[in-house]
């Protein structure tokens, strides 16, 4: 039942599905990403690290570091 509406996470052009509720901080940990180098949006809204992401949320991880 809990996998019926998995959370979709867009990261670097790929869509990942997460079957459980997680906080933004935990999500970044799952992808081994630095909090200082990434932003996370949930349903188009910028989210702080303590925010709980729900299973049917559309989540996007945005890399903020660029340049050579």
């Amino acid at each position: 039942m809990c996998y019926e509406f998995p959370m979709t996470v867009e990261w670097e052009g790929k869509i990942h599905e997460i079957g459980k509720r997680v906080t933004v901080a935990r999500l970044l940990d799952m992808f081994s990403l630095s909090k200082e180098a990434h932003l996370v949006t949930s349903n188009g809204t910028l989210a702080t690290e303590d925010l709980m992401l729900e299973r049917d949320d559309r989540v996007r991880i945005v890399r903020v570091i660029s340049g050579g």
Partner: protein, 312 residues
């Protein structure tokens, strides 16, 4: 997490300032902070006409947008490096911002000037593309300022750009570059004043500002920056920042304090002459750009396209 100003749901946590803010209060905070940098370091005045170096990325487009919001007169300069899809998308994004702000956008086409892109020319010269790109950009952006009467060139260099470059210079003890960084580089004969209003703002803040203002920027990296040492240094500094917030800003503020003392010791500088072709300051008979044009150029030395958005 609640916004420290209004108590609503926060949208961004700023551990370096021990704060969290909602979208509206973050935008106000960021603009006030940049405005404070502009005032403190004397970057721009109401009388200045500024040209913003825009690449299509988040930093430069955010800077252009923000300077406009603060009421400064600022147009854009874009350099098309001839990197196929990447350059095309970048130009589209910069034009979108020119349309949004109703500001002029000057553009210089590398391919038109040299009949080849930066990669091909760099290969012929046996130079890294980034080094060649830097030479061309510095010259062309300054040339746009002098040709069109802009007193200041503003770039979107942020705290992370500066801290990573500083770390790189320290790791390799590049003393010739070590004390030359700064928020402002005053005008000299033939050189426009250069300013970095985002010097004390992190890359994450600049990206959040872009997202919250619906600024459509190019997300992809320049293909030649992949594997660049700068990205490694940024990544290392951010790992430190994650466990020890405010390290990056302390690093740069400490640097600025020391750089001021180093600068006042009076560095000996070799006297620069002028390029015999264009008059640009140069150590040789011709400046680097004119040497390139003499050898590889295929048209008039520097020609700008001027994009003027239609009236709203």
């Amino acid at each position: 997490m609640k916004c420290r100003v209004c108590g609503a749901q926060a949208n961004i946590r700023l551990p370096q300032y021990n704060s969290a803010l909602c979208a509206g209060d973050f935008i106000a905070f960021f603009e006030k902070r940049v405005s404070g940098t502009i005032t403190k370091y004397g970057l721009l005045s109401e009388q200045d006409r500024a040209l913003v170096a825009v690449s299509g990325g988040k930093d430069s487009l955010s800077l252009w947008h923000l300077l406009d919001r603060l009421g400064f007169s600022a147009d854009g300069i874009y350099i098309d490096l001839g990197i196929k899809e990447y350059s095309h998308i970048s130009l589209v994004k910069t034009r979108q911002m020119a349309d949004r702000l109703h500001r002029r956008l000057y553009s210089f086409s590398f391919s038109e000037a040299f009949s080849k892109g930066v990669k091909e020319l760099a290969r012929m010269m046996k130079r890294p593309p980034c080094s060649l790109c830097g030479t061309i950009k510095r010259y062309v952006m300054n040339r746009a300022c002098t040709d069109y009467g802009y007193s200041v060139l503003a770039t979107g260099h942020n705290l992370d750009d500066e801290a990573s470059a500083l770390l790189g210079n320290m790791l390799h003890w590049k003393e010739e570059y070590l004390w030359k960084k700064g928020v402002v580089l005053e005008a000299e004969r033939g050189l426009a004043k250069k300013v970095k209003p985002f010097f004390l703002c992190s890359e994450k803040e600049a990206a959040a500002y872009a997202l919250l203002n619906n600024i459509d920027y190019i997300y992809d990296e320049c293909p030649y920056s992949l594997g660049a040492k700068t990205l490694l240094y940024k990544s290392l500094l951010n790992r430190v920042e994650d466990v020890s917030p405010a390290t990056k800003i302390a690093f740069l503020k400490g640097y600025l304090k020391r750089a001021k003392a180093e600068g006042s010791r009076g560095q000996e500088q070799e006297e620069k002459g002028s390029c015999s072709v264009c008059g640009y300051p140069s150590y040789g008979e011709q400046c680097n750009f004119c040497r390139l044009m003499t050898k590889f150029g295929s048209g008039p030395a520097v020609r700008f396209d001027v994009y003027v958005p239609s009236e709203p």
